[in-house]
Assembly symmetry: C2
Homo-oligomer: 329 residues x 2
């Protein structure tokens, strides 16, 4: 057996983690020979509920689950962790304005960024799922000046998976027949699922589908899928979000397949004209535990407008929480 | 890729399935090369909620998930299925007597037994989790006269896993250090978790622990763990039950490890003096897709009293639903 890896999750008593934790502990994330130690962060008011989840994890007798550390202190939760899933976020309360919500969450991710900066393993891989994920990621990076900003990512993999599934359905193929799907931008309704580079059984997708269907149906369906799920389930996506979190982290650790890529929200380096001070979803290839943004893709006029729209939204979000970015240039 | 296997689940929109389905679809049950087709059975009133789960399953873009068939008709749900997880059951309503509950559930499992009898693959493996699981299993068997009764099992794996976890914790070892745990009897408070044959790192467990602790603490803690979880979580075990269902089916399909066994509730053949007309949890070894009850274990006086108590409870349950057993000798 290998040395156990330490995995922190936040919002540990929430619905996404109720799916995620059991899949991590079973070995789905890092395989059947990698023991794990779970660090579970929750707010003090949810510690009782978290206890029930700890008991259920124990009740699985997972051979790979070496220890469970529940805590409400970020400085304990992130100590020596190799991986961090930042899932918990403040939901919008009654009468809460968007600016208030942004600010409340930015405060949480500033604290967590500082705790990661102080306590986490220097090569920690951080995945931010809690919304607004891109901007929360930006705040966490700003508050962790001693960690490489490339250690921080935000999740657009659920959108990416939804886009693959919908295109596969439209073309009557398996999801594994779809390659090079891209979701650009913010994990919000301005996200842009881009099929212009996607391939279906090796052929350009755009040769197989009607462009008008892409514009009128595909793009808005993916953009508003989260809201649609809430309408039908009465709750936001949980098991599918947990699944995407596993996919995201697995891809980052194990790499992308040759000839394919994934979508990850990462700090922009100015590529594709996206301003450098944002966390933006790009197509990325992963290898040896690192990622590279796929360069030199041709961006057509339709796509470019969508990228700029999402960039603009992210710039506005940034403006609202800029007081929390002071810790890093 | 292999031919897809067809897997039916009942109570598809319930909490256990919200964990189970995503783990099956990801390949955790039968590995990364075995495609699956999910048959999802729900009552008509829950079909809207089920639609949300179907959407989330689609949103995972699982490469192994070839198709999803939601239905409220057992005759559609069980058509050609290779595996069936019978999870849905009527919960106890306000003012409902235990006898009414037994009867309501027996009706459900009689109908499902008949549908399996008519439509399932002749080698279908059936796991009954819905409570009262042992007696529901008995009813299903009685109503599926053309299927081998050895195709039907009920779940005590969650109890088994809990017992392993608690013993491992007490001995300060890993769960993988515990072998030959047994849970006997009914999946109810009369179940008997038996450590007298269990081994800890190859040594008899009973040499390492205090027998009084076993009697006063271990046995009742395992027997009442389900109730304890409900008290703390406000809901019954779901993710840990789903995990046990995966463990049970995996063990049945892939076999038990050399020198170890698992607990499964199966039709008694009279072994250990347990009457033949009951479904009773025994220690079993699995091989080539079949199981054998572990023979010739020495049952001490303490254990024998417990076995008889659980047998008596099952006989009483049987008496109450005997009108539904008429289809089979």
């Amino acid at each position: 057996m290998k040395t156990p890896v330490r995995i922190a999750v936040t919002g540990a008593a929430g619905q996404i983690n109720y799916s995620l934790l059991f899949r991590i502990a079973s070995g789905e994330l890092f395989g059947p020979k990698q023991p794990v130690i779970l660090h579970l962060l929750e707010i003090p008011q949810a510690m009782d509920h978290l206890q029930g989840i700890v008991m259920e994890l124990e009740d699985c007798a997972y051979p790979l689950l070496y220890a469970i550390h529940p805590t409400h202190d970020p400085n304990v939760a992130f100590r020596d962790v190799d991986y961090a899933f930042l899932i918990g976020a403040r939901p919008r309360g009654p009468g809460m304005k968007r600016a208030d919500l942004l600010d409340a969450n930015a405060q949480i991710f500033a604290t967590q960024g500082q705790a990661l900066n102080q306590h986490a393993h220097r090569n920690v891989k951080v995945l931010i799922c809690g919304n607004p994920a891109n901007t929360n990621c930006l705040v966490a990076i700003a508050n962790a000046p001693e960690l490489d900003s490339k250690n921080f990512t935000a999740m657009t993999r659920l959108d990416h998976n939804r886009a693959i599934s919908m295109l596969a359905h439209q073309c009557g193929v398996l999801t594994s027949d779809i390659k090079c799907m891209t979701v650009w931008g913010n994990h919000s309704c301005t996200q842009y699922p881009d099929v212009y580079h996607a391939k279906v059984k090796g052929k350009p997708a755009i040769q197989l589908i009607d462009e008008q269907w892409v514009i009128d149906t595909f793009v808005p369906t993916i953009q508003f899928r989260g809201a649609e799920i809430i309408k039908i389930r009465g709750q936001s996506s949980a098991a599918s979000a947990a699944n995407a979190a596993i996919d995201h982290m697995q891809t980052w650790v194990n790499g992308t397949a040759h000839g394919d890529w994934a979508s990850m929200a990462v700090p922009s380096d100015g590529i594709y004209g996206i301003s450098k001070d944002l966390v933006f979803s790009f197509p990325v290839t992963c290898k040896n535990g690192g990622y590279e943004i796929v360069p030199d893709l041709e961006i057509n006029k339709i796509s470019n407008e969508r990228l700029k729209l999402s960039e603009k939204e992210l710039q506005e979000e940034r403006k609202q929480i800029k007081n929390l970015l002071r810790n890093r240039k």
